[in-house]
Symmetry: C2
Subunit: 245 residues, 2 copies
DNA sequence: AGGACAAAAAATGAATGCAAAATAGGCGGC
DNA sequence: GCCGCCTATTTTGCATTCATTTTTTGTCCT
């Protein structure tokens, strides 16, 4: 019985919890949010079945809203629905990952271009601030902090693009990749750090000059390089222990 | 009773039809495909309710699979689900449209960049072929043919990017815009033709040279210009009659 | 006549029930 | 001992049913 959800005792987020800040009136919506997190956080192994019955008990609901949530998750690309065989967590091939990274690169590249049209000086200052913070993490070899701040920088750029449609798509794709990170112990390589820092300097520079097309290029390349490092990392043995939470 | 689906007698695609070429084993999948087309083709007015009961009768199914399909369409951004108030066709504001166009521009821009890495000479030849065909339509003032061929060119570029994830996202967003076209009589302006043709020449040129970053730029600008023309068109009176089908 | 309130009607959201398919388990054969 | 086949159980997919909420309609009052 390996297809059982790892019974960590975690009740799939406390029922009365209502998450961090979001709210959802409908039950299927609530279920969707919790189930999405549950999958993204890697609580179900790659390719494993998503047992309806068991989840219903866990969540204390009937199958109808759960199945509705599953359909949506399938549309989002997190799980796949095999006819008459239920839902499985989508197993991403290396090729899938490469594609995902490229799409993310495209979206961030677009975000950078759009951001140059609309970003305020204050937002740039805020990003510079994050950049220095990140540099501090870099100096202290704090991979976890570095990674978090790095992510906030990229999110800031996406936010500065002033495009909710883009932001939604970005978040969706980011979730798929995040799942891989969670479940596959997806640490970055130290050797990429210095290079990445340099690239970030170039990003900031282009952003300050509002050089949209240039920034677009730099961002794409930056993400491309990340992709190479990340994908390599999947096949090779791990270089360093995962950062502790 | 304006919220009634226009009763054109069309039974929402003949039940035994099975569409053009695709096939779907599950009922909700089948329903999803048909309903998506139905919405995209503008059969339900903007912002109108999507009456479950009526659709169930039309499709000869129960509410369960229909509701599952609706959840997915909502996730795709074609409709929106108001709590306890059912589904409505999503009404896109002008801002929404601008955002959509920009995201499409970003995706095509990405597609062009990736295509330069992988496209074969044969594919380029095929696109050149389409280009000449399109030029013919341009000379004959055949807007409908022009538009169709133009679309095929852009699809060819996306296909040449060799990225299924990108292609899926592209198709999704294209659907949302297509709905606006169908329902809002979204003709292009003649005055854009000459300019668009020139841009297409530049696209082909960059493609031949496999100049990824350059092509990326050109495609983004090309789509941006389209956006301006299209959005303007929404507020202004129509310049010319819609092409006959 | 117009508006506000209230009851009826309809629609939605979720739970349950049922047929069909898939999986698991047991049995016999080789 | 291992493989294939047949049956029992589980699981899936859809229909149906039930409880709320919303919307409509009718009536009364100002």
């Amino acid at each position: 019985m390996k297809s059982t959800i790892p019974d960590t005792g975690i009740p799939l987020a406390p029922p009365a919890d209502n998450g961090g800040d979001r709210q959802e009136s409908s039950l299927h919506g609530e279920i969707l949010l919790r189930l999405r997190d549950y999958v993204v956080e890697g609580n179900i192994p790659d390719g494993a079945r998503v047992p309806e019955r068991q989840l219903c008990e866990m969540l204390g609901i009937s199958r109808t809203p759960l199945r509705e949530a599953l359909k949506v998750l399938a549309a989002e690309g997190l799980i796949e629905l095999l006819p008459n065989r239920g839902a499985r967590v989508r197993q991403l091939s290396q090729r899938d990952l490469e594609e995902l990274f490229d799409v993310m690169a495209g979206l961030e590249s677009l975000a950078g271009r759009l951001a140059c049209e609309a970003i305020t000086d204050e937002e740039i200052t805020a990003i510079e601030q994050l950049h220095y913070e990140m540099y501090g993490h870099y100096l202290h070899r704090d991979m976890h902090g570095y990674f978090q701040t790095n992510q906030r920088i990229h999110e800031s750029i996406v936010a500065a693009a002033r495009n909710e449609t883009l932001k939604t798509a970005y978040t969706n794709f980011a979730g798929r990749i995040r799942r891989v990170r969670y479940s596959a112990n997806f640490a970055r390589k130290r050797q990429r750090w210095a290079e990445a820092m340099r690239e970030h300097e170039a990003i900031l520079d282009a952003l300050r000059r509002r050089a949209g097309s240039e920034l677009s290029d730099i961002l794409f390349q930056h993400l491309r390089n990340k992709r190479v490092a990340a994908i390599e990392h999947l096949t090779e043995p791990q270089e360093n222990a995962p950062a502790s939470p």
